[in-house]
Structures are given as C-alpha cells and as structure tokens.
C-alpha cells in the first residue's frame, strides 16, 4: 500500500483506546510519510461523541501532516444516530466502502 495507511477498527473501543489510536496513527503518518489514511468502521455498532471527535481529530491531524483521511463503512443505524446526536463529522471525508474510499484517496493524492 506504500502511500496509504489502512486502519480497521474491530472492537468496541473504550475511551483510552480511542485516544491511543489517535496518537498512534498520527505518529505513524509522520514516520511513514503516508499521504492517505483509510479508517474502516464497518464493524462499529455505535459511534458516540467521543469516537466522533476522535475521527475528526485524526482527520485534522493528518491534514496538518499533509495526509488525507477517509472514513469508510459507517452502518446506516450509526449514521442516523450520529446526526440525531448532533454530530455530522464536519471535516471528515467519508465513503461507503473500502473500495470507494481507496478511489477517493487515490484521486486526492495524484
């Protein structure tokens, strides 16, 4: 994958783990010089304001490090709930699935 980092969140994260992921990913972007980050949240059954904020932070931090972030695979029930909660993830690019997310990243860095 050379230019991109792929992250698949596979478990219900507690808050400290979410912060750890945010820090680790930001460090890895700098270390690898990755131009894009793809975060697959298709296994997540819930995104609350804490995890939503983490996704926004990762997008903002990667942007500062000259990398694009795309969040893919959000379940419809999660999307409905997030918007009702009051979060629309401003600043976070999203795509329906991994394939479309990769297309978006590839197009963005060419």
């Amino acid at each position: 994958m050379g230019r991109f980092l792929l992250v698949s969140i596979q478990l219900d994260m507690h808050d400290r783990l979410a912060l750890q992921l945010q820090d680790d990913l930001t460090t890895r972007i700098a270390e690898t010089g990755a131009q894009g980050v793809l975060i697959d949240i298709s296994a997540l059954e819930m995104v609350d304001s804490f995890i939503g904020r983490m996704l926004g932070n990762i997008a903002a931090m990667s942007s500062v490090l000259d990398a694009r972030t795309v969040v893919v695979g959000m379940r419809p029930a999660v999307a409905i709930t997030l918007v009702e909660l009051g979060m629309s993830l401003p600043g976070v690019r999203t795509a329906l699935d991994v394939e479309k997310g990769m297309e978006l990243l590839t197009a963005a860095v060419i």
């Binding site: 507690h14 904020r53 009702e84 009051g86």
Partner: protein, 135 residues
C-alpha cells in the same frame, strides 16, 4: 410505568465501565426486540450519559430496567452520581456547552435520542439522569 424485570446495576468509576454499560444496554435492547436503529440510539445515549457520570460526577452507577406501559415495552436507564452537581441545568442542556473541553453533545444529544428524559441535579447534591425509550 411498571418494571417488568429485575433491575441491573453497573458501577461507573473507570472509562472501561462505559463499554460494559453499552454492551449491557445493547443486550437488553435486543432481548426486548428493539430495531437496529432503536438499539443504536439507546446504546449511544447510554454511552454519553455514562461518560458524564464518570467525567463530571466523579463516578457513580447505571441502572438498566425493562419497563412496561400497557402493552408497550421499553428500556429505562438511570445514571446517578454524588458529584458536584450542575448549577445551571438549562446551560448544561445546551448543544456545545462543555466544561471539560468536549463537544457538549452529551446531555442534549442523549435527550434527542430518548423518548423520555428527566434530569435532577443541584450543586453539591450530585446528578440523576433518567431516560426511557419505548419500542
């Protein structure tokens, strides 16, 4: 409103407990036949309120009950702490108001995700938030 089953109480003293409460609420929501969207809404509301209990209340507990209203079944969740309490409830309920650098969506968002929402708090007296969601 009648309680249909024994209440389950969970401690909320560490961030890891939020996950345990989320999973317990999900399990109850599945058991009483909530749709996937209903499950997700009540679990997300529970997550926000559980975090508030820990961050603002200095820890407390969550209580999960299956309730009946005529033939309707629902879930009632109660979050209680003996922390500092809230001086200005109207302000605390506003979108975007936070005292811990958060997004300020916890209370207001949880209210939007619930069918019923009730909060009692006073400075020095702790906080009690009760929500219900009906099937």
């Amino acid at each position: 409103m009648n309680v249909a089953a024994a209440a389950a109480t969970f401690p909320l003293t560490a961030p890891e407990h939020i996950v345990i409460v989320r999973q317990a609420v999900r399990q109850r929501a599945v058991e009483i036949g909530f749709s996937l969207v209903e499950q997700t809404k009540i679990v997300t509301a529970a997550s926000e309120l559980a975090r508030n209990t820990i961050l603002h209340g200095g820890g407390g507990r969550a209580c999960i009950e299956v309730v009946l209203n005529g033939s309707r079944r629902g879930l009632r969740l109660t979050f209680e702490d003996e922390g500092a309490g809230i001086a200005d409830l109207a302000l605390a309920m506003k979108d975007g108001f936070s005292t811990v650098g958060g997004l300020g969506l916890g209370l207001s968002g949880a209210r939007r995700l619930s069918s019923e929402f009730n909060i009692q708090s006073a400075p020095g007296k702790g906080t009690r938030v009760e929500i219900a969601r009906w099937k």
